[in-house]
């Protein structure tokens, strides 16, 4: 991935879409090739359905702004879930406040699964214009049945946005099969650079959506008092885009495709099964989320006895093991779980069982230090 970025800087450092000269044409071509690769990765019908953004957060804000402001009004609702990342909560709070709309939250069971009765109930009550849901929880690991929920939501004329920040890097995602209306993900979670991400949206929706930011490159013609805009995806990519980021993401996508997302998923499932088993044997260990490795992704959140998650991260760090601790940008979920924070280990294609053994040893040491 680093090589891809580097090559760009040395060879193509010219503004995409501008200039007539050769070097710039190559940058444009590489940028558009990246778009095509990403469309293929998630099986979009057409590359024009792929919009480059800064990350999942910007993708969701773009939808809230450009689609939400015209399609969600007074008294309408946006349905979310209790396991959403702040990035899939706050944009809807801001929209709801501005438009006088309501938020409805689908709750979760103690094992960390969505309560489907609540989901159906909200739809039946009417007025739900959008369901915004994470495909894989970044805290619980839960893989939500998005495909089925999309089908159900569409019966009620409710659009569906999928937060795929935790799914696209780890499982095979097919937007045509899911039939979701919007899907968002980030480069930095899939071996790509920071500062780049993707919004997928169905072409017919994009065509009707208002522009998000105004400026260079997204316009067709500008006059003093009016402007006309290009077709999607360019309409939504104002200003000099992160060409190097997009190209870097394209290289990362190539890499993941070569490894194969089914292989990645299988490897992660095996590691997760191994880790759930080993960690589960530690005394005073509390693991959050589903117990069945077949329906969960490769993140495991836990707390050990009364050791605060931040202390745990420091203790593991003393042994050279990097984990994350905190609320993981999911404070409402923390409230639901009744904890201030969790420690989270996550597994990816490059992790091994040996590393899990080392994690377990380090956890045992932490237990001894804290005399539990």
């Amino acid at each position: 991935m680093i090589e891809g970025l580097d090559r760009y800087y040395r060879e193509y450092n010219a503004n995409v879409f501008r200039g007539v000269y050769q070097i710039s044409e190559e940058a444009t071509a590489a940028y558009e090739t990246a778009r095509k690769r990403i469309a293929e990765l998630i099986n979009a019908k057409d590359p024009s359905e792929i919009i480059f953004v800064r990350g999942t957060t910007e993708a969701i804000n773009l939808v809230a702004h450009s689609w939400g402001r015209s399609n969600i009004g007074l008294g309408d609702s946006v349905m979310l879930t209790e396991m959403e990342h702040h990035s899939n909560i706050v944009p809807w709070q801001l929209l709801a406040r501005d438009k006088g709309a309501q938020l409805k939250y689908v709750g979760i069971s103690d094992e960390g699964r969505l309560l489907t009765e609540e989901f159906h109930g909200y739809l039946e009550n009417g007025g739900v214009k959008l369901f915004a849901v994470t495909q894989v929880s970044n805290v619980l690991g839960t893989v939500n049945p998005v495909r089925e929920m999309v089908r159900e939501a569409h019966r009620y004329n409710c659009r569906v946005l999928v937060d795929a920040a935790q799914s696209v890097p780890h499982i095979a995602v097919d937007v045509q099969d899911l039939d979701c209306d919007f899907l968002a993900f980030s480069g930095h979670k899939m071996c790509g650079p920071t500062g780049i991400g993707v919004l997928y949206a169905k072409r017919d929706l994009l065509e009707k959506m208002e522009p998000y930011q105004g400026g260079g490159e997204m316009i067709r013609e500008v006059h003093l008092y009016e402007a006309s805009f290009k077709d999607p995806p360019f309409k939504f990519e104002a200003g000099t885009t992160d060409i190097s980021g997009a190209i870097g993401l394209g290289v990362a996508v190539d890499y993941l495709s070569k490894v194969g997302l089914r292989n990645i998923r299988n490897h992660e499932r095996d590691l997760t099964a191994y880790a759930l088993d080993k960690l589960g044997k530690l005394k005073q260990m509390r693991i959050y989320g589903p117990a069945d490795p077949d329906t969960r992704g490769g993140v495991i959140s836990f707390n050990l006895a009364d050791i605060h998650a931040h202390d745990m991260a420091s203790l593991l760090d003393e042994d050279g093991i990097a984990v994350r601790s905190g609320h993981h940008c999911a404070q409402p979920l923390m409230e639901r779980l009744g904890v201030a924070a969790t420690t989270r280990a996550s597994f990816y294609l490059y992790n091994t069982e040996g590393e899990i053994d080392r994690l377990v040893e380090s956890l045992e040491r932490a237990g001894r230090v804290f005399k539990i």
Partner: protein, 136 residues
């Protein structure tokens, strides 16, 4: 295996001294560490000489933030406000012992920041102390 989590830290974490609230505090301040979610409140009762007659802390968070807050309460008890004002970060860190990373430093110093905010506010000298506080 030299952990910052010494017996002393653990002892203060599990058995905090001066934890709770006062009935009639003269000084009250509260802050949180948005990165970690640690919360600390400090309450001080003064005598006629502007000395600390009684002190309590309250809060939640990691062992470092809670233990250092508890240690700080012991340190200030009986001290003149002017002396409280001059407590340095180094004093706190030597109480804790061990090496702290930049992020955990914030946990360790949260209670001192809260305490000083309370004292400066009480003394009406908050504004000229912003710089010092932002260094904590």
């Amino acid at each position: 295996m030299s952990s910052v989590y010494s017996e002393i830290i653990l002892d203060y974490y599990r058995h905090p001294r001066n934890k709770g609230t006062l009935d009639h505090p003269h000084i009250k301040a509260k802050d949180s560490n948005p990165l970690c979610g640690d919360i600390i409140e400090m309450q001080l009762e003064l005598d006629g000489n502007d000395s600390v007659k009684d002190v309590r802390f309250n809060g939640q968070g990691c062992a470092i933030s809670q233990a250092s807050a508890s240690m700080l309460t012991e340190l200030v008890k009986g001290k003149k406000l002017d002396d409280v004002r001059s407590i340095s970060k180094e004093e706190i860190l030597s109480l804790i012992g061990g090496q702290l990373s930049a992020v955990r430093l914030k946990c360790a110093l949260l209670s001192l920041k809260v305490l000083k905010t309370g004292v400066y506010t009480y003394l009406g000298s908050m504004s000229n102390s912003k710089e010092e506080l932002s260094g904590l």
